[in-house]
């Protein structure tokens, strides 16, 4: 086989076996030919000595398999770890400003809202439960009427307050969750 035939055959076999860096590999064999020719060998003799291109491509395939077996599976990703720590440090002051300060304000607002709504409810129930006593003392139908209407009015306000607070709290919690999710995404992105 001539040098050109040999290299062409080798290229075909390497490509068939999906061996990377074909060009570099071929240049090694070209150098081998060059040295052989320099020592007075013929291209046919050198080709003979090198062996069948099919065998050589298989040898590259084998070495590729050995390399993949020997390379350590998952070395600890130091780069990624440093990245994550860095991002955490960037986020920390940001989170303090975004989460802590508005968090404190919104949190106390929510707490106050719930307290008002529940107090209204409590007051309404207190009036309702105290009504028979007061009514018995004065026997006035007007007091009954006033007591019941005030009580129901307060109860309605309490229910409305609770409803509002429920949606407000839900909305805030959902916001908090999506913010935390964004945090996680920011930290874990590659």
């Amino acid at each position: 086989m001539t040098k050109q035939d040999y290299l062409t055959a080798l290229r075909t076999e390497l490509e068939k076996n999906k061996i990377p860096n074909v060009q570099e590999i071929l240049s090694d064999y070209e150098e081998h030919f060059a040295h052989g020719l320099n020592k007075g060998k013929t291209e046919a003799v050198i080709s003979e000595g090198l062996g069948n291109p099919v065998t050589i491509a298989k040898a590259f395939e084998t070495e590729k398999m050995i390399a993949s077996l020997q390379s350590p599976e998952n070395p600890f990703p130091w780069g990624l770890a440093f990245n994550v720590i860095g991002r955490l440090l960037v986020l920390a002051p940001f989170n303090f400003i975004v989460l802590f300060i508005p968090g404190a304000i919104l949190g106390s607002l929510v707490f106050a809202g719930w307290t008002v709504a529940l107090t209204l409810g409590g007051a309404s129930l207190a009036i309702l439960s105290g009504l028979p006593k007061i009514a018995l003392a004065s026997f006035s139908a007007w007091i009954w009427l006033a007591g019941i209407s005030t009580s129901f009015g307060l109860l309605g306000l309490a229910a409305l307050g609770c409803l509002c607070m429920f949606f407000l709290t839900k909305f805030l919690l959902l916001g908090l969750i999506s913010y935390l999710q964004w945090n996680l995404k920011f930290i874990l992105q590659r």
Binding site: N21, I25, D28, Y29, E31, H32, A34, H35, G36, N38, K39, G49, L50, G51, N52, P53, T55, I56, A59, F60, T62, E63, K64, I66, A67, Q70, S71
Partner: protein
């Protein structure tokens, strides 16, 4: 010689030879094929893997007597690897000798 035997020891030979001195491909192939009958072309895959695994590094040098030569030089990592491989080879030989005996001819 049994081709399976050769395949196993070729890497060890290459490691130890390049460990002693820098070789260029053709020279190494020539030296080995003086002693072991091999398909010369199958040595380059081994050289390439050992280089890719950072056991060897290569450099190009012009020569007055012929074409430029791609030399292989062992690295620090390669030396450590070679020592481990050599020790394993010696131990392996001793174990096999225990099993099959030294004196069979």
């Amino acid at each position: 010689m049994n081709p399976q035997f050769k395949k196993g020891v070729l890497e060890l030979c290459v490691l130890n030879m390049v460990g002693r001195k820098d070789y260029y491909g053709y020279e190494l192939v020539e030296e080995i094929s003086k002693i072991l009958e091999i398909s010369e072309g199958t040595l380059y895959p081994i050289l390439r893997r050992l280089t890719e695994e950072k056991y060897f590094e290569t450099y190009l040098r012009e020569s007055s007597e012929g074409p430029p030569r791609k030399y292989y030089r062992i690295t620090k990592l390669g030396q450590d690897f070679q020592r481990v491989q050599f020790r394993q080879w010696t131990e392996f030989n001793q174990q096999i000798e225990k099993l099959i005996g030294k004196d069979i001819t």
